[in-house]
């Protein structure tokens, strides 16, 4: 049988990097091919070539056995190729119908939009592929999972046969991800073919028919979920053995470091998004806040770190009332913050690494004397941290915008953890990072906890919460539904609580552990 898609010898050279090195790829009709690789391995470059966004330096593309020239997204769409981009290509202020038909509009009287006709088609596609959406909803009002369905409908509306999913689960909750995999299954059952780009091992094993691993621009192996396991895939991907389990010694928590009491926080639209939350974090423990994104975690973290005013309640850090404190006061108390969005809140992108590394301390001795910055000290400090934290960079004066995501995150981790701290607020510390970097950052966080630091970890990645936490608080619609000991729950139980379902009859607190419920 002729493969539906064949890439032969695709090579793409960027200044200084060989992003794709003679890559061959074959996709058969009705299969899910996973393209696995670390960030920067060249997966996205390859797919952008296939989608016509980049031109390859060498190589050929065959669609249904015919050699094809794909020089623009229009060509790709015409050839039946569609792509769900990692960052959704949706316009928030347009309706679902407008987003779907954009570029391929249903029209009447020549040029006038026919929204009804588009809505009808969207509902038909929704029925056929089990993608229920309301065509007249405004996209910005939809949860991320539904937005992704809109993206998929966009492709099906254009009758795409080859669907590329670029890191589709990066923004999804575990439940939404599982639902996406079901959708992907039903798509291939109805004859579509899928290329699934990811660096998450579990997903590959769950959903792919075939796995292709890319490292440093070249294909390093091909396997199937039956033959492979997490460890072998990780080793192929990174090129060395990777420990996927964080080693953590038992530790008796110490005194209370952070205490949140009856906290109420509103978002910018005056919605109450943190609704009377109470929580304590002790020295030497990691408390993980599990929850689907958008359930108030972001605002809770902002309130704790002084970035957002709370409307009621109290926050106490190391015995001091910090409810109305400024971020600098909180930092100076000995607290560190790894923010959720590293590029927006964690770094000044155009600034060099050395300056980013002193963002919390630049105004103090020894980094400044009076009003004058001491550049030599700052540079020495940077060089030290670059080697301590294994930041891969040409120099300490490279702007952080030039670093990969993993190295940018290391800059933040280095800045925050190198200070003498007693409290670490880590919000999605490994978002979008590859296995190697995740391993490293997890180790560092556990090390801080072992040193007696109190850690509050927020993450929508259930695996991460389960692996690192000593206690888990589940946040749902602004409330903390339960605070449980890590050892007292299974992943499934936490997953259900994240969806707002309290496991009742079969989930009585296991004999020796106590489930604290805080309302």
């Amino acid at each position: 049988m002729t493969p539906i898609l064949e890439l032969k010898g695709i090579t793409k050279q960027f200044p200084g990097v060989l992003a794709n090195d003679h890559i061959n790829l074959t996709l058969h009709k009705g299969e899910i091919l996973a393209l696995l690789g670390e960030n920067g391995a060249g997966k996205s470059t390859l797919m952008n070539i296939l989608y016509g966004l980049y031109q390859p330096d060498e190589g050929e593309i065959f669609i249904n056995g015919e050699k094809s020239m794909v020089t623009s997204p229009t060509d790709a769409i015409d050839a039946g190729i569609g792509m769900v981009h990692q960052h959704f290509m949706l316009i928030p202020v347009f309706t679902v119908a407008e987003n779907v038909m954009l570029g391929e509009e249903s029209v009447k009287y020549g040029n006038f939009l026919n929204r009804d006709d588009a809505a009808k088609k969207i509902l038909e596609i929704g029925n056929q592929f089990n993608l229920p959406v309301n065509p007249s909803d405004m996209v910005r009002d939809l949860p991320v999972g539904v937005q992704q369905k809109v993206e998929i409908i966009k492709l099906l509306y254009r009758e795409a046969e080859i669907l590329i999913f670029d890191e589709p689960t990066a923004v999804l909750t575990p439940q939404e991800a599982d639902e996406l995999f079901k959708i992907m299954r039903s798509l291939v059952e109805q004859g579509k073919s899928i290329i699934f780009i990811t660096h998450k091992l579990r997903e590959v094993l769950d959903v792919a028919d075939r796995i292709m691993v890319i490292r440093q621009g070249a294909v390093v192996g091909e396997t199937t979920p039956d033959e492979a396991d997490k460890n072998s895939l990780a080793a192929m991907m990174v090129g060395r053995e990777v420990s996927l389990v964080v080693e953590k010694e038992e530790k008796v928590p110490g005194e209370v470091i952070l205490s949140i009491d009856d906290l109420v926080v509103a978002d910018k639209f005056q919605n109450i998004v943190v609704d009377h939350v109470s929580l304590e974090v002790h020295a030497g423990e990691i408390v993980g806040i599990a929850g689907v994104q958008g359930n108030g975690q972001t605002e809770l973290v902002e309130a704790i770190t002084g970035l957002r005013k709370s409307s009621e309640g109290q926050i106490t850090l190391m015995g001091e009332d910090v409810t109305r404190a400024t971020p600098r006061q909180i930092t100076e108390l000995g607290s560190a913050h790894v923010p959720e969005d590293r590029q927006a809140d964690g770094l000044v992108l155009p600034f060099p690494i050395a300056e980013n590394l002193v963002l919390c301390t630049y105004y103090k001795e020894p980094f400044s004397k009076g009003v004058v910055l001491q550049y030599e000290t700052i540079l020495d400090h940077a060089k030290q941290l670059i080697s301590d934290f294994d930041i891969r960079t040409p120099s300490a004066l490279t702007p952080v915008s030039n670093l990969s995501g993993g190295n940018q995150q290391k800059v933040i981790i280095a800045r925050e953890l190198s200070r003498p701290i007693q409290f670490l607020m880590a919000s999605q510390p490994t978002r979008g990072l590859d296995v190697g970097s995740i391993e490293y950052i997890h180790k560092r966080i556990v090390q801080k906890r072992n040193d007696g630091c109190a850690v509050l970890l927020v993450s929508p990645e259930l695996d991460e919460i389960m692996e690192l936490s000593d206690r888990i608080a589940v946040m749902y619609r602004g409330n903390i539904l339960a605070v449980v000991k890590r050892s007292a729950v299974t992943k499934e139980e936490v997953g259900l609580m994240m969806a707002g379902i309290m496991p009742e009859s079969d989930f009585k607190p296991k004999e020796k552990h106590v489930v604290e419920r805080t309302f």
Binding site: P73, M89, V93, L102, E179, D267, N271, G495, G500
Partner: protein
């Protein structure tokens, strides 16, 4: 696995923040105090205010004068405004908060007019008619801005395009002795300048503010030069014909509205036609959907095969066309000759009207009328011999612009990619 696709509905703290509620209430009470102490106490008991309801020089659609007792009217205004203010402080108007502040502002203006005209008369209809004319360049400027910014290109050069349009309109109109050819010339000059703006800011990705400012400076210098060198030395070159007033049969006879809206300049009619055309084109056609997509998220549009560059070029050129038209109004629709710097910042106020109108044609025309009305009051009152110096009154429209922009708008629904050059990958 259970699937969770819920739209979370949140409890609200309140519709309007407590501070805002307080500030608005105090503002309303302050307005009431101004009416009381400024107008009521300074009015003469027994005076009558006469509002003339037919603009001067009009013989169709005439209407009788409107006579009201000065002091009782002012007292009534005070009482109502105090009531609004107290209700705002105690209970709050929720969603209607802004509207109530606007109403109080209207009362202030009406109270001011009533007080000024106490014992004498003021031509209210004439004032409204001139407000509509003064709104024309502002509204057209705002339309021009809407067209370009909806596609993601900030066009701060509207002022310059208007100025150039007014000069070229006068020059071409004088040479050909034709209003319509003059108008075409003005539009063409707007098109050429906007083409320069498009090339600089879309093709060469120069900062759009800088590109726009360059065009403004060029236009100011160029029109001044041509004016001094040719128009002033040869008056025949600065004597264009004027578009006549065209009454619309039937409609022109409606009292009050007829003389103001239906027996006027072709530019007023064009403004209303453009309102409908732009509104429909932007929100109901394929072209509009694509144009707005390019202004909101050009990368998304690009991945769907939409030519971002071409779409932006078209939008900026249309913006220039409308700006040229707005410029022609000054020389061919209003004054009948070109004076240096005669647009006097109307292009910038147009941009403010665009923002006030939330990047929508209907909002833009509303804001245009507001600013036009402020202008009209200013010029009318200096004629009335008001106690307030005319220079202060002349600042009224700008003050209103500032207050409106600072206090009421906040961020609005600005196109998400407004002002950002698009880099293809």
């Amino acid at each position: 696995m259970t699937s969770v696709t819920h739209t979370v509905e949140h409890k609200k703290i309140s519709e309007v923040s407590p501070t805002r509620k307080l500030v608005m209430g105090i503002a309303e009470l302050f307005i009431a105090m101004v009416i009381l102490f400024g107008f009521v106490l300074n009015s003469t008991p027994g005076d009558l205010t006469r509002f003339v309801m037919t603009p001067g020089g009009i013989d169709v659609g005439a209407m009788g004068d409107w006579v009201i007792p000065t002091r009782p009217t002012l007292i009534a205004l005070t009482v109502v405004t105090v009531a609004i203010g107290i209700f705002q402080l105690v209970k709050g108007f929720g969603r209607a908060t802004n509207g109530m502040v606007g109403l109080s502002g209207l009362f202030l203006i009406f109270g001011f007019l009533t007080w000024q005209a106490g014992g004498t008369s003021v031509n209210l209809a004439g004032m409204l008619a001139s407000a509509v004319l003064l709104a024309v360049p502002i509204t057209l400027g705002a339309f021009s801005g809407v067209l370009s910014e909806r596609a993601g290109v900030v066009n701060i050069a509207i002022e310059g395009m208007m100025l150039m349009g007014s000069m070229i309109g006068a020059l071409v109109g004088s040479i050909t002795n034709s209003t319509w050819i003059g108008l075409a010339g003005a539009i063409l000059s707007g098109l050429i300048l906007s083409w320069i703006h498009a090339v600089l800011s879309i093709k060469y990705k120069i900062n759009q503010i800088i590109s726009g400012t360059v065009i403004n400076i060029f236009s100011a210098g160029m029109t001044a030069f041509i004016s001094q060198k040719y128009l002033q030395t040869n008056q025949a070159l600065n004597n264009p014909p004027l578009f006549p007033r065209i009454p619309i049969p039937g409609l022109a006879n409606i009292p009050l509205l007829g003389p103001i809206f239906f027996n006027t300049n072709v530019f007023v009619y064009l403004m209303f036609i453009l309102l409908v055309v732009i509104q429909v084109a932007l929100f109901s056609t394929r072209w509009g959907l694509r144009t707005r997509s390019v202004g909101e998220h050009p990368r998304a549009a690009d991945t769907l095969g939409i030519n971002v560059t071409r779409t932006r070029y078209v939008a900026v050129l249309l913006s220039g066309l409308v700006a040229g038209l707005a410029g022609a109004f000054f020389t061919l629709g209003s004054v009948g000759r070109f004076n240096e710097g005669m647009t006097a910042g109307k292009g910038f106020i147009g941009l403010a009207a665009m923002i006030f109108g939330n990047w929508r044609p209907l909002g833009a025309i509303g804001a245009g009328f507001l600013f036009g009305f402020a202008d009209a009051i200013g010029s009318k009152l200096s004629l009335l011999g008001s106690a307030i110096p005319p220079q202060i009154m002349a600042t009224a429209p700008y003050l209103i612009t500032m207050i409106v922009l600072a206090g009421f708008i906040g961020k609005g629904d600005m196109p998400a990619a407004d002002g950002e050059p698009y880099e293809e990958e």
